[in-house]
């Protein structure tokens, strides 16, 4: 009798244990998926946001046209990769074509805008500069349509070229892992450039106090140009790197700019490390929403932003700027 009860208990226990293990498995798989998707998304966001925040930090311009740089990078990259594969050349070189095309396009348009327009506007109110860059965004949106048309572009080849990896029963694209690596490298390069090089230190002086920088004889105008080019380049690069994963269609720049704003604001405007943290927060929050409750995908990003702002209005890592008279 007692043995019988004991056995029943035993089987109940094992049942529970098995059930627990099953739940654990599902939860862990879900968690793994959320973390990996989140980090991939964050990597992509970081590349965009880093350029945006750098330009704001140095130039005090919240550049709405950053979304256009992203779109131009995506179109240039996707367009050239499509052409490259049609020539039947070595597939591996397509990565170089993708990135090269985007960077050239991004730097060209960045130089054109900074030298041709923005430099005449320096010193204006920050809100006016938002409106100016909004105007540039509108113009570039149509310029993109005129150059590349309105049909979608696909540049899936680099994406499929790298294959996929199975991890705990889930399949991930290796291309996405590469995105994480590239984003990390960009982050490290920015950190090194800002903290360890002479030009980077000059840049930080400008970020901290433009007038003192000018008084010290730093060529602020040159630093502005360089910063804007780096920012534009990063925007275009982000576009190129996303292009293989999706179809490049009109309007992607307009979509991306508000996301980048959210990231940058969460981290603190003007702070590159803040952009990293912001990107991770937004990336993970979005991935969690997509996997658990897809209805709130977009909502969650701005809700996080609202939360951060309610608690810490200047963002998590705001750059302290010198008080002025």
């Amino acid at each position: 009798m007692t043995r019988h009860v004991g056995r029943a208990e035993l089987s109940l226990c094992s049942l529970l244990r098995a059930f627990g293990a099953k739940v654990w498995d599902v939860v862990m798989t879900q968690l793994l998926a959320i973390i990996i998707d989140g980090v991939v998304y964050a990597s992509w966001l970081f590349i965009i946001a880093a350029g945006l925040t750098l330009i704001y930090g140095v130039m005090r311009i919240l550049n709405m046209a950053h979304g256009s740089f992203y779109a131009i990078g995506a179109y240039a990259g996707a367009g050239m990769v499509g052409w490259y594969f049609s020539t039947g050349s070595v597939p591996w070189l397509s990565f170089a074509v993708l990135i090269g095309a985007a960077l050239i396009a991004g730097l060209f348009i960045g130089l054109l805008i900074e030298r041709g327009l923005l430099r005449f506007m320096y010193g204006r109110n920050e809100v006016v500069m938002i409106l100016v860059t909004y105007a540039i965004l509108l113009i570039l949106e149509d310029a993109i349509k005129l150059i590349w048309g309105v049909e979608p572009y696909f540049a899936y080849q680099p994406y499929s070229l790298l294959g996929r990896t199975k991890l705990a029963g889930l399949s991930f694209a290796n291309y996405d892992f590469m995105l994480i690596v590239v984003s990390t490298l960009i982050g490290l390069a920015l950190w090194y450039g800002l903290n360890r090089t002479r030009n980077g230190k000059l840049l930080r002086v400008v970020i901290h106090d433009r007038e003192i920088a000018q008084a010290l004889g730093i060529n602020v105008s040159r630093i502005f140009t360089i910063t804007f080019l780096i920012g534009a380049g990063l925007g275009a690069l982000a576009g190129a790197l996303t292009a293989p994963g999706l179809s490049v269609v009109p309007g992607i720049g307009i979509e991306v700019i508000v996301l980048a704003f959210a990231v940058v604001v969460i981290g603190g405007l003007g702070s590159v490390s803040g952009a990293l943290v912001g990107a991770l927060i937004v990336g993970l929050a979005r991935a969690a929403a997509v996997h658990l409750y897809p209805e709130v995908e977009l909502f969650v990003i701005y809700a996080v932003m609202g939360l951060v702002l309610a608690i810490r209005p200047q963002g998590l890592f705001a750059v302290a700027s010198a008080r002025k008279i």
Binding site: L131, Y134, L137, L140, D142, I254, L298, Y302
Partner: protein, 313 residues
């Protein structure tokens, strides 16, 4: 003096209404849309006079529109006056909450956070299948105090509502801009420290303006929804709010008529741009915006006032 201006207003309203009936249907439609947007821009201008640029009035525009849609489509309420009241109530309620957070900010922060809040609504609407997700849904024809207009008369009713709203709200805002509260906005723009040291709360001034602007945007959204017969989440998208800012800058902030004229020109320009060169509309907008910022920072209305000043001597 008082009666004269009231007569003038009634005359203006009648004139506008008759004009709306005389012109071809597409132009009449365009007129109503322009009036709807003009009302929203009135609120944008109100904030601009206090030194704040809102890139998020689309939030309340969309709320006003969806209230009209939901009431006619799902609640069986079609009375224009009820719909307008509900829109105002909904917009002001949301603004009362959002404003608590938002009105602490100035400059680019105000611009961006207002944008973020309208994107929250957009994000919610595109995923709510009950409300038609990205496609939105149709708004049924309105009625007035038990009178249900026929197909043809329906657009006339909306025209009348739009004209009356424009005239009433325009006059109220005209008075408002001249009152202490109106000037308080300029005072805040010019020097918040001084305002605080006069013993007045800057936050309260801005908060009040934010609520008024929200109510105006809600009304504008309702008018637009009633005339177009359709609502969709795009109304809360930040580019919609960008349009309002554009119209405000184009018209200028010095007179209540400027947003209306600005909105009219804007819609006319858009119609022709789409017809003549479809992929250049935003390019035209952007270039115009740049030209205005560089050459005409006080908007087109500054031309009007410059001419009238010259004419006077």
């Amino acid at each position: 003096m008082q009666t004269k201006s009231i007569l003038l207003l009634i005359g203006g309203a009648l004139g506008l209404f008759v004009l709306g009936l005389l012109v071809p249907e597409w132009l009449s439609y365009l007129m109503i849309i322009a009036m709807g947007k003009g009302i929203v821009v009135l609120g944008v201008v109100l904030l601009m006079r206090a030194g704040l640029v809102s890139f998020g009035q689309g939030l309340y525009y969309c709320i006003g529109a969806y209230v009209a849609g939901t009431l006619t489509q799902f609640a069986g309420i079609s009375d224009v006056l009820l719909i307008l009241l509900a829109s105002i109530a909904a917009s002001v309620l949301v603004a009362a909450l959002v404003g608590l957070l938002l009105c602490r900010y100035r400059g680019i922060f105000f611009a961006m956070f207002s944008m973020a809040f309208s994107m929250i609504l957009y994000g919610l609407l595109v995923r709510s299948s009950v409300l038609g997700s990205t496609d939105g849904f149709n708004v049924l024809r309105p009625s007035l105090l038990g009178w249900v207009p026929s197909d043809d008369a329906s657009s006339d009713l909306v025209l009348a509502v739009a004209v009356v709203m424009v005239m009433i709200l325009g006059s109220l805002m005209w008075l408002y801009f001249r009152s202490l509260s109106g000037y308080a906005g300029e005072a805040v723009r010019e020097n918040e420290i001084r305002v605080e040291y006069l013993g007045t709360s800057v936050f309260r001034i801005i908060y009040t303006k934010y609520l008024i602007a929200a109510a105006l945007a809600g009304i504008g959204g309702t008018v637009t929804a009633l005339v177009s017969g359709h609502v969709d989440p795009e109304m809360a998208y930040w580019t919609t709010s960008g349009e309002f800012v554009f119209i405000a800058l184009m018209g200028g902030t010095s007179h209540v008529a400027a947003p209306m004229v600005g909105a009219g020109l804007f819609e006319l320009l858009r119609t022709y741009a789409f017809a003549i060169a479809p992929y250049t509309w935003q390019m035209i907008l952007g270039s115009t915006l740049l030209l205005i910022i560089i050459f005409l920072p006080s908007g087109l209305w500054s031309l009007v006032s410059r001419f009238s000043r010259q004419a006077r001597g």
